[in-house]
């Protein structure tokens, strides 16, 4: 039986420091995050930093295939920049030259949508907070996209808990089949093309932001020679039992339906893979070329070549995956994939495939690339513009602007799946049903005694001379059901640690 598909999203945001004489994205990112932390009580005492990240267990250079091929470049960890843990269990930090927010671990796809929306609200509040600190005429603005249109990309990564027992080669096969074809409803849309050797004006519009930047089938890198399937083997959990599938191929979505489908369908495909229930395997003759082909085929009708000589369209392959996922849930239930939420994923999945097959334009409220294309074409027609006009390129970027008064996505009539009030609460409240609950409650209640935290442990200083580390190697433990009462009853971190010790946790 597949392990419960806990999941999370990490989003690197584009950042612009307007009005600055010499803008520096690293200091702008630090300023943005620190402004939020100060304004929202995450750095409560003067002179004391927010609870920081603990890098002790980070091993991003481990390769899921075992020994990494020669020439692989291990990601470096920057430890000197702002790096905070929030009371909702999220991590908010500067990564390279971008602000990045990693959601807490979520138990199902709808919870991931909620915390992704909470992350957008945190970014919006950060922009408001930093405006107070900047001189008049300056502003720091954050964009939830993945490309600057000039050949630079930054990621929106997904993470899924997977059993260690699954052969990695099987993950590669099924994940590749899904990642190449799910673009048709996950793509955020982009003007132009950024592949080396191709001119920007050779393609007017494509389905995804990321396909241009994916160059390998499988690999460890995330900043160059990016692969379709990333092999970073860093489970942030009991490594004997779990893998974490770290997905770097996808776009950041403004549409909640697209985010829901992106993580919901992928969780289902991973569960199928784990229980070896896929039935037929699909291998592309040239996966990277197929990925780009799908991104550039707005007709969704081009056949993709499989390694056995047959062909299939992206839509056709998605129908196959949906049929396999539906049969899986009928036979084995949905416990491993988010319970009733998985049934909603299946229903939505069918709706978007049906809509895409009939006329993609009918999905302008659900799918980002369709919503954005509608705006671009409408604006072009209204003003009689050439498709190369700078105003259309500006529109493409501003679709992803996270300022509520400037965001075009917020005006595009996108369907929402989560309540705004619930998303606002999720800015500070952890999900109740994963170990993020334990992390979040510790930060809410005992922040002054928490020295550092990371995904799978929290370090306390309760004034006994030595630091105490609490391990959280089981991502599904530490929920409100497990430890909710304990938090309500404990008046100090010392008491919490004593009770955890007594409970053998």
């Amino acid at each position: 039986m597949a392990v419960a598909k806990l999941l999370g999203l990490e989003t690197e945001y584009g950042i612009v420091h307007r009005g600055a004489a010499e803008p520096n994205p690293i200091s702008a990112s630090s300023l943005l995050i620190n402004a939020y932390l100060i304004a929202h009580g995450h750095a409560p005492e003067a002179g004391r930093a927010a609870v920081g990240w603990d890098f002790t267990d980070e091993t991003p250079a481990n390769d899921a295939r075992g020994g990494a091929p020669a020439g692989s470049l291990a990601p470096e960890i920057e430890t000197h920049l702002v790096n905070a843990v929030l009371t909702n269990g999220a991590r908010y930090y500067v990564d390279h030259a971008h602000p990045e927010l990693s959601t807490p671990e979520c138990a199902d796809p709808l919870s991931a949508v909620l915390y992704d929306r909470a992350a957008e609200l945190i970014a919006a509040r950060s922009m408001e907070a930093v405006r107070m600190l900047l001189p008049p005429g300056e502003e720091i603005v954050v964009y939830k996209n993945n490309s600057d249109g000039k050949g630079n990309s930054y990621g929106c990564h997904e993470n899924y808990l997977v059993s260690r027992a699954v052969p990695f080669s099987r993950i590669v096969t099924n994940a590749t089949a899904h990642f190449v074809t799910r673009q048709i409803y996950c793509g955020a849309g982009k003007m132009g093309i950024e592949t080396a050797g191709m001119r920007l004006d050779e393609a007017g519009y494509q389905i995804t932001q990321r396909a241009d930047f994916i160059e390998e089938e499988v690999g460890l890198e995330t900043t160059l020679k990016r692969p379709i399937v990333n092999t970073r083997d860093e489970p942030h959990a009991d490594a004997a039992k779990y893998r974490r599938l770290h997905v770097i191929v996808g776009d950041a979505n403004m549409s909640q339906v697209a985010t829901f489908l992106k993580v919901g369908t992928t969780a289902l495909v991973m569960a199928l893979t784990e229980d070896d229930a896929m039935g037929r395997e699909f291998r592309f003759a040239t996966p990277v070329a197929a990925l780009r082909q799908v991104s550039r085929d707005l007709s969704l009708r081009q056949p993709l070549e499989l390694s056995d000589g047959a062909t299939i369209t992206a839509l056709g392959l998605q129908w196959e995956l949906l049929a396999a996922a539906r049969a899986y849930v009928e036979q084995r239930g949905a416990d491993a994939v988010g319970g009733t939420v998985a049934c909603d994923v299946l229903a939505r999945w069918e709706e978007v495939l049906t809509g895409l097959e009939r006329d993609p334009a009918t999905l302008a409220a659900q799918i980002d690339w369709v919503a954005k294309l509608r705006l671009l074409e409408g604006f072009r027609d209204r003003h009689g513009l050439d498709f190369q006009d700078a105003r259309l390129r500006a529109l493409d970027i501003q679709y992803h602007d996270l300022r509520p008064d400037r965001s075009l996505a917020a005006r595009a009539g996108l369907e929402t799946l989560v309540d705004e009030a619930a998303a606002a609460r999720a800015m500070t409240e952890p999900p109740p049903d994963t170990r993020a609950y334990f992390r979040g409650r510790c930060l809410q209640k005992f922040a002054s005694e928490v020295v550092a935290a990371n995904w799978d442990s929290i370090v306390f200083d309760v004034g006994e001379g030595s630091l105490r580390r609490v391990s959280m190697a089981e991502p599904a433990r530490g929920t409100v059901a497990h430890v909710g009462d304990m938090f309500d009853e404990c008046g100090s971190a010392m008491e919490l640690l004593r009770r955890l010790g007594a409970a053998g946790a």
Binding site: H96, T223, T311, A394
Partner: protein, 64 residues
């Protein structure tokens, strides 16, 4: 090699079955047009005023 693609046509969803209850197509069409017009009015208001400079200066470092 033969095309092996099989597209499965699912049973109509409840939304499709209730299509007769919706307003006539022409009415829906003009609604959609009006909505898009309102949306484009808003975009005219909020879109970056100096698009050329904005697009040129939107430069990011690579990430991840």
């Amino acid at each position: 090699m033969a095309e092996r693609e099989q597209i499965r046509r699912p049973a109509p969803s409840p939304r499709e079955q209730s299509v007769e209850e919706s307003p006539p197509a022409s009415e829906r069409g003009s609604d959609i047009k009006a909505q898009l017009d309102d949306l484009l009015d808003e975009i005219d208001e909020v879109l970056e005023t100096n698009a050329e400079d904005f697009v040129k200066s939107y430069i990011q470092k690579g990430g991840e």
